[in-house]
């Protein structure tokens, strides 16, 4: 016990191995319980992965939207799930990949924080990332694997960016470039917005530190910054080429779908709780320190500004900032990822604050910080149960079995009232649906025109949702849509008046199968969006290959300059004098 006490109350960094163990202690049991399966998007990622299991080199998936291209979403975490599923099965493979992302986050936060604060504060920041409310919220409630997988890779790449622009050595250039590319292969939005929120502050820091130790001229700085930008840009362009082709040929022009993260959190306090209180948790208490310290210490200002802008955008419709900065993208993106990035940017400050509190109040501070961190994490984890993505849990096995028998799968189907179970059902059946959960990938005009999400949840989108459903049912013959599985009798009158008849009931009469007579069997859509074979090969090789390359490249030994510099810079900037001024 004394030894543990000394780790936390001494001035030495907490060993990263201990922080990694904390990840295992806190999150491994939750992942083994498969808690993320209750989240909004987890089944969506597993569904994508299940396609890669069978069609690694063909991103055209016919199971949703009568066919859509998975090249519209960066594939890296899903391909890792597909690979790991050969041993673990899809569900546990998802948990394994998510755990790997959480372990990587600890390393990423530590390495990123070292740029700004002392090794001890950085190690505390890494420990704080284990309990971060926004991380637990995204993992257990939102199920945003892409974001939580890409951010750690990105954070790990940033110190290499700094080293490169400061010292111009080839090793950090190579490592940084490969890691940035791998991060983009995991999630494009993280790279795009991360460049502004994370990379620009790091570049600004390199500029501020240019005269510290080895001198860096402005021209060298600019040359190096432009070089890595061009090389990484080219790398991402090549690795995600099918994605860019799909994006430019078929831009997302569909009517925006409402999302509560764009609400005003004061006028709609229930969403403020969901998208502000839960992700930030006890970190809210540190806001005054973040602002004061970030403004007082010059070299922390770029980090503060990155945090501040991400924080404002993450507030959704509470401020006009998101609308102004993002334009139309504000109506397409969801805002909780910005809050996630803001909390990651806040972690070096948290590490700094915690280190100073512990130094001043010793065990009292350790106890207080442990309690607030645990409460933040517990609240975010528990939120998945308090506000589950699906109000009711139910099995879709019988629906899948029904579709898979007696040639029912020669027709397409749609579900009503199934929530995010449609991804699970799609994995279990051979039949194809006209519905789906990947809104940016859909092309059917009946779905893109009205500004609603999945048909299965039509009624929750009000008039746009019901209009989209009516449009789809009107064109049932065209799509070979013969079966409608209804778990919400709200929809019954429409089906009845539109000429559909109930033909069977499943799951103790809780699910009714409706059918329409005279519908021809479904035929494959000859969509122009089908990626050609060469794109499929690229999609199967390059994104995954970038991550394998990143693993090998990162194994090249580092120079010790990095940590030495961090300690030196910290000593210079966070002196006792400054601390006294702040206190």
């Amino acid at each position: 016990m004394q030894k543990v006490n000394s780790i936390f109350t001494s001035e030495q960094p907490i060993p990263i191995s201990l922080v990694l163990m904390a990840v295992l202690v806190v999150h491994l049991p939750l992942l083994l319980m498969q808690l993320p399966l209750k989240s909004f998007d987890t089944n969506f990622h597993i569904f994508f992965a299940s396609h890669y299991v069978h069609h690694w080199f063909n991103p055209w998936n016919t199971k949703w939207y009568a066919g859509f291209s998975q090249a519209t979403y960066p594939p890296l975490p899903q391909q890792w799930i597909a690979l790991a599923s050969r041993i673990l099965g899809l569900d546990m493979a998802y948990m394994a990949v998510q755990l790997a992302a959480m372990l990587l986050l600890v390393l990423g936060v530590y390495r990123f924080s070292l740029l700004w604060v002392s090794p001890r504060a950085a190690s505390i920041a890494a420990l704080a990332s284990v309990f971060l409310g926004s991380e637990s919220f995204l993992v257990y409630s939102a199920g945003q694997l892409g974001t939580t997988f890409a951010a750690p890779i990105y954070l790990n790449a940033l110190p290499f960016l700094f080293e490169w622009v400061r010292h111009g050595k080839w090793r950090p250039f190579l490592k940084g470039s490969v890691l940035f590319t791998a991060a983009a292969a995991a999630h494009h939005a993280t790279l795009l917005f991360g460049s502004f929120f994370f990379a620009l502050p790091v570049l600004a820091l390199a500029l501020l530190d240019r005269n510290d130790g080895e001198q860096t001229s402005i021209s060298a700085f600019l040359r190096r910054a432009i070089t890595i930008t061009v090389v990484v840009g080219a790398g991402i362009a090549i690795v995600l080429l099918p994605f860019w082709i799909a994006l430019f040929q078929y831009p997302v022009t569909q009517t925006p779908i409402p999302h509560a993260s764009r609400a005003n959190y004061i006028l709609s306090p229930q969403w403020g709780l969901n998208y502000f209180i839960i992700p930030y948790g006890a970190l809210i208490l540190a806001f005054p320190f973040i602002f004061l310290r970030g403004c007082t210490v010059v070299r922390l200002r770029p980090l503060l500004l990155g945090f501040w802008v991400a924080f404002l955008v993450g507030l959704g419709g509470t401020t006009p900032v998101g609308h102004i900065l993002l334009g139309r993208a504000f109506e397409v993106l969801t805002m909780e990822r910005f809050s996630y990035w803001a909390t990651l940017l806040a972690l070096p400050f948290i590490g700094l604050l915690a280190a100073e509190l512990v130094e001043r109040y010793r065990m009292w501070a350790v106890v207080g910080l442990t309690i607030t961190a645990a409460l933040s994490c517990a609240l975010a984890v528990g939120w998945a149960t308090f506000r589950p993505a699906d109000g009711e849990d139910f099995k879709v096995d019988t629906v899948a079995a029904w579709l898979n028998r007696d040639s029912h799968d020669q027709y397409r189907y749609v579900t009503l009232g199934f929530g995010n179970k449609i991804a699970r059902l799609a994995m279990m059946t051979d039949a194809n649906s006209v519905d789906g959960e990947w809104n940016s990938g859909r092309m059917l005009p009946e779905l893109t025109r009205y500004g609603a999400g999945a048909l299965t949840s039509s009624k929750y989108f009000g008039k746009p949702g019901l209009d989209a459903l009516r449009a789809m049912l009107t064109h049932a013959d065209h799509y070979g849509l013969k079966w409608v599985f209804v778990r919400d009798h709200f929809y019954d009158p429409l089906l009845s008046f539109a000429g559909w008849r109930p033909v069977d009931t499943l799951e103790d009469n809780t699910i009714t199968v409706w059918s329409k007579d005279g519908v021809p069997p479904a035929t494959p859509l000859n969509a122009p969006q089908i990626p050609p074979r060469w794109q499929g090969l690229m999609w199967g090789i390059l994104p995954f290959g970038s991550s394998v390359l990143a693993i090998f490249v990162v194994l090249i030994p580092n120079e010790k300059r990095y940590e030495r510099r961090a300690q030196k810079v910290h000593a210079a900037n966070n002196s006792r004098e400054l601390e006294r001024l702040v206190w």
């Binding site: 403004c295 609308h323 009107t474 019954d492 539109a498």
Partner: protein, 376 residues
């Protein structure tokens, strides 16, 4: 440096607060959507404002808040208010959401005012509009709305003898899908077809008759062909038809082609579909007091009376309008937003386009019905 930093911190905090205030006082459209059009600016200073507040509460389904705003809430309970608004028995409005509303002042004095509240509901079968006249009274320095409860007609307890025809179908086995039948389909025939061009696109309308002695499930598909006999578009009748036809019954149908011009169409291929179906003549819906009203505001009005002892949750009225030569000139429909209780007539009104009203000399009306749980 430290004092500069503190000024910078204060500046950032101030800008943050200003941005939050701006975003809250003038919320963006996407933020407004989540508070039902309400912002911090709502007030009770005018009759229109309080009725607007009431509309917002109805849209948010904030029944308690809406009820507590009424000046005459002692006259009824909150559940009575909700039932009055959305139906005492399950009907279309019961599960509908309010899409939008309009507030139209009628008259106002210093102490009271009358305001029309036009509610645009989004129901499962389409839009539905109900209008309520809200009396608003002044109470001190604020205005308060009064809600006039309209109670459902109560029918005395009685026994209603039923004597109706019913047809059952014996299927081959449990694995036999409905519709996949080896028997001959009921004989149906399209008795009239007319393409028309309207502002909203081309339409094909007509009538279909079940000539058989058994009930039929029917639907109609129209395929438009160009001069080169290539297919322009194919659409079905969807809900603009009565899909269940008893022997010798006739249904109108209307098929929409919103993106097609009549001048591009050389011919139309009509494909009626029929299949055997179990059916009964119950519930019997009587159409009473039908009247054609000439322009302006030309319409068909009448009442539906449920002659059976069961509640009909949703009724769909389909009307065919003929010219003096007996040709079909228009097909229109209307869903009733309230349930049909036994023996309690419910009025309906079907709007007729002004330009067609002069051509119309007669009409035929059919009613399709739906009852929750009726199929099990």
């Amino acid at each position: 440096m430290v004092s500069q930093g503190r000024i910078f911190a204060l500046l950032l905090a101030a800008v943050t607060i200003v941005l939050v205030v701006v975003g809250t006082v003038w919320p963006s459209p996407s933020a407004v959507a989540y508070v039902g059009g309400e912002s911090l600016r709502s007030s009770t200073s005018t009759p229109e404002a309080v009725v607007e507040n009431l509309g917002n509460d109805i849209r948010d389904q904030a029944w308690e808040k809406a009820y507590s705003s009424f000046a005459n809430k002692a006259e009824f309970t909150e559940p009575e208010f909700v039932h009055d608004l959305k139906g005492y028995s399950p009907g279309l409005l019961t599960y509908a959401t309010l899409n939008s509303f309009e507030v139209l002042p009628i008259h106002a004095s210093a102490k009271e005012a009358d305001v029309l509240l036009k509610l645009h509901w989004s129901t499962i079968v389409g839009a539905s509009v109900t209008t309520r006249r809200v009396h608003v009274v002044r109470n001190g320095d604020r205005w308060e709305p009064e809600w006039q409860i309209v109670k459902d007609p109560s029918v005395p307890p009685q026994i209603i003898p039923v004597n109706y025809l019913r047809w059952d179908v014996i299927y081959r086995g449990s694995e036999d899908d409905w519709g996949a039948q080896d028997v001959e389909s009921p004989h149906v025939r399209i008795v009239d077809v007319h393409p028309v061009e309207r502002a909203e696109g081309m339409m094909v309308l007509g009538e279909l008759i079940n000539e058989d002695v058994v009930p039929a499930y029917v639907s109609v598909t129209a395929t438009l062909l160009s001069k080169h006999q290539s297919v322009i578009a194919t659409e079905g009748s969807f809900d603009k038809i009565s899909h269940l036809l008893l022997p010798k019954q006739v249904t109108p149908f209307l098929i929409r082609f919103p993106d097609v011009q009549l001048s591009d169409v050389e011919s139309i291929r009509m494909t009626p579909l029929s299949a055997l179906i179990a059916a009964s003549a119950d519930p019997v819906i009587e159409i009473e007091n039908e009247q054609l009203h000439p322009s302006p505001d030309s319409s068909l009005t009448g009442q539906l009376a449920n002659q059976s002892g069961q509640i009909v949750n949703v009724a769909h009225v389909l009307a065919t309008f003929y010219d003096s030569a007996g040709q079909v000139v228009w097909v229109a429909d209307k869903y009733l937003d309230h349930a049909l209780l036994p023996q309690a007539p419910v009025p309906f009104e079907i709007h007729i386009p002004e330009d067609l009203s002069k051509k119309i000399s007669s009409q035929r009306t059919v009613v399709a019905t739906y009852s929750f749980g009726g199929y099990q």
